[in-house]
């Protein structure tokens, strides 16, 4: 990221004490006591201490830390879901901690949309009405908000689900609704609080990818909270590392990986030689289409052309992987009027277990462009890995 970017939010000397004698706790902090000592002496918890950072216009900033590091407190201080004890948060010329209740309301409506870890969708509202919520309370007229909500639902791939209720959707889809609700609002900053942490790994991976694409397309300033270093490295333009309520490092993913600020960061990142840490499960994509062993050549060809594939994996009823078919041989068989695909099956194809690291995976691509099949120990097809995904992962080691 370049330095010419404008600053969107300035956070200065932000602190938060949980307790009723906050002055005393801050005074002890200024005398050099640490969090544990302050807790012991006063019974108050120093949630955040002296936080300073800038959020740049259009960047995806990840705030990362373990549980108890204060990251959830920090994101909630930004829109004052939690009242900061001291410090400034400046956005668009306004200092958030000093706003009146009414001004705060306007500030939240204009500047902040939030996506929550457990989705926090309104169960009594349809998907469409959930997406409309932010606009509705701002008093935007019906037609306009319906239009905007539909657009944002489309952007997250939920077209056609407008009338469903949240409990009819899977976790991944629910979080898409959460994202659509935030996008429809068209606020200037997107706050994402462990937004993908409740999703299972495969879906999570997809959502990260989609968020990156969406974010690059829309240039929406995004602050993303996570406890997962891989996630932080994967999506962040910059990363802020938080420990015990203090910032330990701010930097790009490469900087964090290659020049850790202290032992704490180093412990996080050590061994993140991604080619050894990242597994096939992590980079695999769901299979777009498979052929069945009892399909005819023409059926298979149609499936392939519909999904723009050159080769297709063949599975049986239990999704056990039988082999791979090439378009060329299928074409010949179809022209020759054959009905079965059995003899066309190529059984010598690259395959790998889901827990194999990328280091093993990478050589399998030499000279071939067939996606590598990921199979479980019952030979069932779980997904495929394409070369691009592996390269992308390896590139993130950041050999400067």
């Amino acid at each position: 990221m370049t330095d010419t970017q404008q600053t969107k939010i300035q956070v200065r000397n932000l602190s938060k004490v949980f307790g009723d004698d906050t002055k005393k706790a801050l005074k002890l902090r200024d005398e050099g006591l640490n969090r544990a000592q302050i807790l012991e002496k006063t019974g108050q918890t120093l949630g955040l201490s002296n936080i300073n950072f800038d959020v740049r216009e259009g960047e995806l900033l990840v705030i990362m830390g373990l549980s108890g590091s204060g990251k959830s407190t920090l994101i909630r201080c930004l829109n004052r879901l939690i009242e900061p004890t001291e410090g400034d948060i400046i956005i668009g010329g306004e200092n958030i901690p000093q706003l009146s209740d009414k001004a705060l309301l306007h500030c939240r409506r204009r500047h902040f949309s939030m996506v929550f870890q457990n989705f926090a969708l309104f169960p009594h509202r349809t998907v469409q009405m959930n997406a409309e919520y932010g606009l509705e309370i701002r008093g935007i007229d019906k037609a306009e908000r319906a239009e905007k909500a539909r657009n944002s639902l489309k952007q997250v791939g939920l077209e056609g689900w407008e009338d469903a209720y949240p409990n009819q959707l899977s976790g991944g889809m629910q979080q898409r609704v959460g994202l659509a609700r935030a996008l429809a609002n068209d606020s200037s900053v997107l706050l994402m609080d462990e937004a993908f942490s409740a999703l299972d790994p495969l879906i999570r991976r997809d959502m990260q990818q989609e968020l990156i694409e969406l974010q690059h397309r829309m240039k929406k300033t995004t602050i993303f909270i996570t406890h997962d270093l891989d996630e932080a490295l994967n999506i962040g333009d910059r990363i802020i590392l938080l420990r015990d309520g203090e910032i330990v490092q701010i930097g790009t993913p490469e900087e964090v990986l290659t020049r850790p600020a202290d032992d704490y960061v180093a412990r996080f990142t050590e061994g993140v030689d991604r080619s050894r840490v990242v597994t096939a499960r992590r980079v695999m994509r769901p299979v777009r289409a498979t052929a069945r062993h009892d399909d005819g050549p023409r059926t298979v060809l149609r499936k392939m052309s519909e999904n723009a594939l050159d080769s297709i994996y063949v599975v049986d009823r239990e999704r056990k992987l039988l082999g791979i078919l090439e378009a060329d041989s299928l074409d010949e068989a179809a022209k020759a009027g054959k009905d079965s695909i059995q003899e066309l099956l190529v059984t010598d194809f690259p395959r790998i277990g889901p827990d194999e690291p990328l280091a093993t995976l990478y050589p399998m691509f030499q000279g071939k462009s067939i996606p590598v099949a990921v199979i479980d120990d019952q030979q069932r097809l779980l997904g495929v890995v394409v070369k691009g995904a592996v390269l992308e992962q390896l590139a993130q080691t950041g050999e400067e």
């Binding site: 306007h106 969708l121 309104f122």
Partner: protein, 280 residues
């Protein structure tokens, strides 16, 4: 006891207070009395104007729509029995009192319940009052009702409202306080005002609990309306009361069974109403 501790004249104080209220606010109580009596008469006349079979048909259809065939058949048999026993008019009178008492109770309870959910201080004030209202023997409410509103149905409604209101308040508060914290956070994060949060998020989500409270209120109202026969409230209660005075157990049980039938119908109906909302 040898100690000469004067007895605390608690009863005198309360009487003094009640006297003060009745004399100073007689204009208000008379207006309330007149208004309530008009309401009772209107509803009662309206229900009586319908022929018995028509009202039974309406109730049976309603039961069928809301709940199902079993309740509809039950309603048909039960109401037909009441008609057959010649208890139709007292039943309508009782129903009228229950409906009006419940409506008044809900109108008072909803805002109080919401207030208690939003304000911790008010919560702390009102909860002991509700405990007091619920543990005080129900008969006691009948006594001050008479100087306020005289003998008759209005007094009965007054006592019934006081007796049946607490669960509606409690359940409203409970329902609102039970709304998950992350949904409140979401509503706040998007910049909802207090009333927007209440109307768009808290109330709809507390509806099932709230309906449970209303169900309780109806049940309590029914039981109290029967007791209120002692101070001249008309209806099935006065049938029971007369049977007691004349030592006629058969008639007493007939009226009692009619009350049971009403209770079951009202209970099942309101329960299916709230259940229906939840599954949507």
């Amino acid at each position: 006891m040898d100690f000469d501790i004067p007895r605390i004249p608690l009863g005198d104080w309360i009487e003094g207070g009640l006297d003060f209220l009745t004399t100073e606010f007689s204009g208000v109580t008379r207006a309330i009395s007149r208004g309530t009596q008009t309401g009772i008469n209107l509803l009662n006349d309206g229900l009586m104007w319908l022929p018995e079979w028509a009202l039974i048909a309406v109730v049976v259809l309603l039961c069928w729509k809301v709940s199902g065939r079993r309740l509809a058949i039950g309603a048909l048999i039960g109401l037909a029995l009441i008609w057959n026993l010649g208890l139709w008019n007292p039943m309508i009178q009782t129903l009228t009192l229950v409906v009006i008492a419940t409506l008044v109770a809900i109108v008072i309870a909803l805002p109080l319940g919401i207030l208690a959910a939003v304000s911790d201080r008010f919560y702390k004030v009102i909860m002991p009052i509700l405990d007091f209202m619920q543990t005080m023997p129900a008969f006691v409410y009948l006594i001050p009702a008479i100087p306020f509103f005289g003998i008759g149905s209005v007094s009965g409604i007054f006592a019934t409202v006081i007796f049946s209101m607490p669960p509606a308040i409690r359940f409203t508060t409970l329902g609102i306080r039970q709304v998950p914290k992350d949904l409140i956070e979401a509503a706040d994060a998007y910049g909802s005002t207090r009333s927007q949060k209440l109307i768009k998020v808290q109330l709809p989500l507390s509806l099932p609990t709230l309906m449970g409270g209303i169900n309780q209120t109806i049940m309590l109202a029914l039981s109290m309306v029967v007791i209120a026969a002692m101070i001249g409230a008309n209806g099935l209660g006065s049938e029971v009361w007369r049977a007691i005075q004349r030592l006629r157990p058969g008639e007493g049980f007939e009226a009692g069974i009619a009350v049971v039938i009403m209770a079951m119908l009202l209970d099942r109906l309101t329960q299916s109403l709230s259940g229906g909302k939840k599954t949507k």
